[in-house]
């Protein structure tokens, strides 16, 4: 749906290659594109304005680097600015001098507070702490029960009582002290920032528990309202940090930028699923790529790690590169990939695919994929191993079995051969499949160094493209 910002910028500024400096006109044009990319990603209007102004500042009069096109240079500036804004000073975790360290969670209805409370408790236990969960949402039906179930899953005890939220929170902290727990995480009811009574209530909870950390829990899918809401919660509670949830979806997550800008405190944790281990520290660099629509390979890989069978993937990947892929492998591979999500959503996470491929992939709907799957399933094992034995009558049988036409079967076989040829051509040919420009790779744009430690894992496919052959093909484990 969205064209990657990098491509748009390439298009408008490719012709400016030979000038010595970025002109104001170049920058204006680029900034317009950046503005719409940010708005499409749900960054709040006012925040977009500030951000664009900051990028202008960064770019103007800058000497053109020899190695970069103007488009790349602007992207680099945008990217750096984004990482700076999103990152800033990370939260250095400290603990209250007199335990327990009280952690208060607050946010809108359904943003993920209760789930985050359990995830945090589990996370702190992994850090060697001994947390207690306190259920202070006495408003939503079965809210405490939900926390108890999650607590049991994490093996962490939960305190609550049917009094009132302020009293429960206070008693919870006392209970943690009595039990010698060093971290006390308080889950509260969801509330709207315009609900004065409930905002007062959470302020009171904070007053009686004096939290060491107050975290604002916010859904990554939130739109423009992020700013009004975050402002109100910050005014009421003096937030220490933000937990961004539901990052496992395909929302671009511009809210991260909006919230960060108004709260000015770090986004500390990222929640990427419903299970308790779908939780990690927040990575500003990944978020920057995601907001800019530059793909998020790391998220993709993490999803892959969670859902795909590694052995199957590695086996088919190496067979593919050796040109020995069979239809059986292909079927397996298809099933693995489909576990990750729809092809369209996967493609959004892939950086550097050329525009043609990306556009075409959007047209590939998952129904077609199911047809392909049905065709392969209707083949006999022998046919899958060696498709060349498929003659007219076999074709008709396969078509009947899969509810397709012989023509479709034929097309599929032809395409399969083409694909085999293409990958057999080796890394160099593979490179041609990616957009020709290095700007398409976030890592390249960010000078490689900006993306931190984990990026190392990405050098594989990237190196493959640029320096063919330097990457050792994956081995079977």
């Amino acid at each position: 749906m969205f064209e990657a910002l990098s491509e748009r910028l390439e298009r408008i500024s490719g012709r400016l290659r030979n000038r010595g400096r970025l002109s104001d006109a170049d920058i204006d044009q680029a900034l317009r594109e950046i503005r719409s990319a940010l708005l499409e990603a749900d960054v709040e209007v006012g925040v977009v304005r500030q951000f664009v102004a900051a990028v202008r500042e960064r770019c103007s009069g800058e000497v053109l680097a020899r190695s970069l096109t103007p488009g790349q240079q602007v992207i680099k500036a945008v990217h750096q600015e984004l990482i700076e804004v999103l990152g800033g000073q990370p939260l250095r975790l400290t603990y209250a001098p007199r335990p327990p360290t009280v952690v208060l969670l607050a946010g809108l209805q359904g943003s993920g507070k209760t789930t985050a409370a359990a995830k945090l408790a589990r996370w702190w236990r992994q850090q060697g702490r001994n947390p207690l969960l306190v259920g202070a949402d006495l408003q939503r039906p079965a809210a405490v029960e939900q926390l108890r179930v999650l607590g049991a899953q994490a093996g962490i005890s939960v305190f609550s009582e049917a009094t009132n939220p302020v009293a429960v929170a206070e008693a919870g902290v006392a209970e943690a002290r009595r039990l010698g727990r060093d971290v006390c995480i308080i889950d509260t009811a969801g509330r709207l920032s315009v609900d004065q009574a409930l905002m007062d209530e959470v302020r009171q909870i904070a007053a009686v528990t004096s939290p060491h950390y107050t975290f604002f829990v916010v859904d990554a899918m939130i739109g423009q309202d992020a700013v009004a809401t975050a402002t109100a919660f910050h005014a009421a509670l003096d937030l220490d940090g933000v937990i961004l949830t539901k990052l496992d979806g395909d929302a671009r997550g511009g809210a991260a930028l909006s919230v960060k800008q108004v709260v000015g405190r770090p986004i500390v944790f990222a929640s990427t699923g419903e299970r308790l281990n779908d939780f990690d520290l927040f990575h500003p660099d990944r978020m920057a790529d995601r907001i800019l629509g530059m793909g998020d390979v790391l998220t993709l890989i993490e999803q892959a790690e969670r859902t795909m069978d590694e052995e199957v993937v590695t086996r088919s990947a190496s067979r593919l590169l050796e040109g020995r892929l069979t239809l059986d492998d292909f079927l397996e591979q298809l099933q693995q990939v489909r576990k990750l999500g729809s092809l369209g959503s996967i493609m959004k996470l892939m950086p550097g695919m050329s525009k043609e491929i990306r556009q075409a992939a959007e047209q590939v709907d998952d129904k077609k994929v199911s047809r392909v799957e049905a065709i392969v399933r209707s083949m006999t094992p022998a046919e899958r191993r060696d498709p060349s034995i498929i003659d007219g009558s076999r074709r008709v049988r396969i078509a009947c079995g899969s509810g397709t036409s012989p023509q479709e079967v034929n097309d599929l076989l032809r395409q399969f051969r083409e694909m085999q040829r293409m990958f057999k051509g080796g890394p160099a040919r593979l490179g041609a499949l990616f957009g020709g420009s290095p700007a398409a790779f976030p890592g390249a744009v960010a000078d490689g160094g900006l993306r931190g430690r984990e990026t190392a894992g990405l050098r594989g496919p990237k190196g493959r493209k640029k320096k063919g052959g330097r990457v050792t093909p994956p081995k079977r484990r």
Partner: protein, 362 residues
């Protein structure tokens, strides 16, 4: 189609290579996580649902009538944010500054860039004089985009048919609460409602709906935690037919539209609910008004998968405007049918385009 192959191939290579590298690098670091309960796949064999809990209260309290002023009043909470717009009205002529302000108002309401630009084009082609006229024209255009005629909820009165209304959406938008609100409303209208607790996945989701059932005096069918949701819905339809309930309201677990397996599970629930005597007469997508442009993708993918018939827009009592539904109605032809205005069982009103547009523009 060749593209599909390339994409798959490249993807597998990228993912394969990188995950191997990453897995190796990370291997010694994390302590083994306790196995989380895996989300059941749609293929899971249907488990027999537990017997329904007896209704706690047999008499349903009649719903207090929703005062017409109420929606205005609730929506009005955040007026004043757009006081700037009122100043706009006073402008004698339209210059680009006016456009920019107007654009900003629309964007802030989550109307989205493409729809905002379209509105601007349409207004450009209508010659308007001053600010007042421009705003009136804008309201017209917005209402025209929300021109669906029929926003009623479909119900098949045919005897021998058990109507099923299915509620779905991403996590935390308000599905369960909406099921309770709709149940209360329909019971007050004389329907014999049975709730199906089709969320067997999330912690205490069944318990949440059961407490609602208790509160509003509705009957409910619950399944075993972690069981097959379509079995619960199937069971609910069977029981509804046997006991003479004519409407089953089926709650489902929150799921992201991008999770193929979970969307498949939803398709299966729908298929099962449609087996006679069941008939799925509404598939309601619940959207949270605070959601930004992603709501459009949610609506598109869920519609493709299970044929959504209407939208419920929740949490419109907050400061968010929910402007993305304009694009949803226009691009997908999906009518917004109901609006959620709070956490109580009566905080539900029919969608009124006029009031919505007025609130959108402050």
């Amino acid at each position: 189609m060749i593209v599909l192959w390339i994409v798959l191939g490249v993807l597998v290579v990228v993912v394969g290579v990188s995950s191997v590298v990453l897995v190796r690098r990370r291997a010694p670091v994390p302590p083994p996580a306790p196995p989380a309960p895996a989300r059941p796949l749609p293929e899971a064999a249907p488990a027999p649902a537990a017997p329904p809990t007896e209704p706690a209260a047999t008499e349903a309290a009649p719903a207090p009538p929703v005062h017409p002023a109420r929606i205005e009043e609730r929506l009005g909470k955040t007026r004043g944010v757009f006081a700037a717009l009122r100043a706009l009205r006073l402008r004698p002529s339209i210059d680009s500054g006016v456009w920019e302000e107007l654009e900003e108002v629309l964007l802030r309401a989550d109307v989205g860039l493409p729809t905002t630009e379209e509105l601007r084009h349409r207004l450009d082609s209508r010659s308007v004089g001053g600010g007042e006229e421009l705003l009136t024209a804008l309201e017209d255009e917005l209402r025209a985009m929300l021109s669906t005629q029929d926003r009623s909820l479909r119900f098949d009165p045919e005897s021998g048919v058990t109507n099923v209304w299915l509620f779905l959406g991403v996590n935390g938008v308000g599905k369960t609460t909406t099921v309770a609100k709709v149940a209360k409303r329909e019971m007050a209208a004389g329907k014999r409602v049975l709730l199906a607790a089709g969320d067997t996945f999330r912690a205490a989701a069944g318990e949440q709906l059961a407490q609602w059932a208790d509160r509003i005096g509705a009957e409910i069918v619950q399944g075993a935690e972690g069981g097959d949701p379509s079995a619960v819905v199937f069971d609910a339809v069977q029981r509804a037919a046997a006991r003479g309930n004519d409407l089953v309201l089926a709650d489902t677990a929150g799921r992201l539209h991008t999770r193929v397996n979970l969307v498949e599970e939803l398709k299966k629930i729908r298929r099962v609910a449609d087996r006679p005597p069941g008939r799925v007469s509404e598939v309601l997508l619940v959207l949270d008004a605070t959601t930004g442009q992603n709501a459009l993708t949610q609506a598109r993918l869920f519609t493709e998968a299970v044929g959504v018939t209407g939208v419920v827009l929740t949490k419109l009592d907050g400061s968010a405007k929910g402007g993305v539904v304009v694009a949803i109605e226009r691009q997908l032809g999906l009518p917004v049918k109901l609006v959620g205005l709070g956490e109580g069982p009566d905080d539900l009103v029919p969608f009124d385009p006029g009031a919505f547009v007025a609130a959108l523009l402050g």
